[in-house]
Symmetry: C2
Subunit: 186 residues, 2 copies
């Protein structure tokens, strides 16, 4: 890298985008007609965790849309300059005031309709002292047969819970993926 | 979702961003002062593969910067609405005219300085008929002890090749991560 760092965003007040295929590319992008800056749009990464305490699993009830009132796993968008495991631990703190210790990668899901890649970890709760963050109505620790299956927020929450249960006795296993034929849509 | 879909980008010619912390957030974002659109910037996903044919591994020599002239694995940015494995297969085609069959997830790397998450797969070449794509000078199939270790493009290429070698006899293993203490920087 040279000492002159490249801009990562166009000058804010002058962005004047048109949609066109840049030279050497094969997909249309947003290109600034003034400075040539290309605003590449790419899928976003969600990081989260199935957090366990003994035989119970941490779930959060959403206070915000989409799916307000439904139960989910602590998860959210990875931030710039953050490692994936740090992001999963941050989300557990923000959404459930939970301190966690990441154990292994449970699953990689793709939800292509909304251009989302989800990295879901298996994690141990360091303490059972958990509580709802600002985006939650409540949190709970559920035994597997007490999980509110009919009130889960997203298909991938159900996948992660089932795959966690299927693999909880294992220490070394291939990360799960979307179940066959499932796209993550309702 | 309501029938009125939310805009995913601001009206192109009117974006008038300032950097501020949106209500309910805790990090500064680019916010349009006219319409309130928040331009969230997030890490990008690179998908790629260690592609094998018998005891040889596919490498590509870069025709573009960064690291022009150095050897790399076929890999690149995941596109909108693409699944991770489809993206890895597309990159193998674009960079080495290689048809591949994804076997398993080899590794998840984070390079926080450049906000990049890399998903590297293990894949079988369907044919040894490979050739350089438009961003490559040449491609080659290398036995492990013939790999040009001193001329690899990025640290994560070295990690993936070593971890592939360590796990090639396994069918079911936990995805590797950055080696301890390594950030992906040179």
């Amino acid at each position: 890298m040279s000492s002159e760092s490249k801009p990562t965003a166009p000058p804010a007040a002058t962005a004047n985008f048109v949609r066109k295929v840049p030279d050497g590319d094969n997909l249309a992008r947003q290109v600034c007609v003034d400075c040539g800056f290309i605003n590449y749009e790419n899928p976003k990464i969600v990081v989260g965790a199935v957090c366990h305490w003994g035989d119970r699993i941490l779930l959060c009830r959403r206070a915000i849309n989409p799916r307000r009132g439904h139960w989910t796993l602590p998860a959210g968008y990875l931030e710039l300059h953050e490692t994936v495991t740090a992001g999963a631990a941050r989300e557990a703190w923000e959404e459930a005031r939970a301190r966690i210790e990441i154990e292994t990668l449970l699953a990689v899901y793709t939800v292509p309709r909304i251009s989302q890649v989800q990295l879901m970890y298996r994690a141990r709760l360091v303490s059972e002292d958990v509580s709802a963050g600002p985006e939650g109505l409540e949190v709970g620790l559920f035994k597997f047969d007490e999980i509110p299956w009919d009130d889960l927020a997203f298909p991938s929450v159900r996948w992660a819970l089932r795959q966690f249960s299927d693999s909880k006795h294992l220490t070394d296993f291939a990360a799960f993926t979307n179940p066959p034929g499932e796209t993550g849509d309702f």
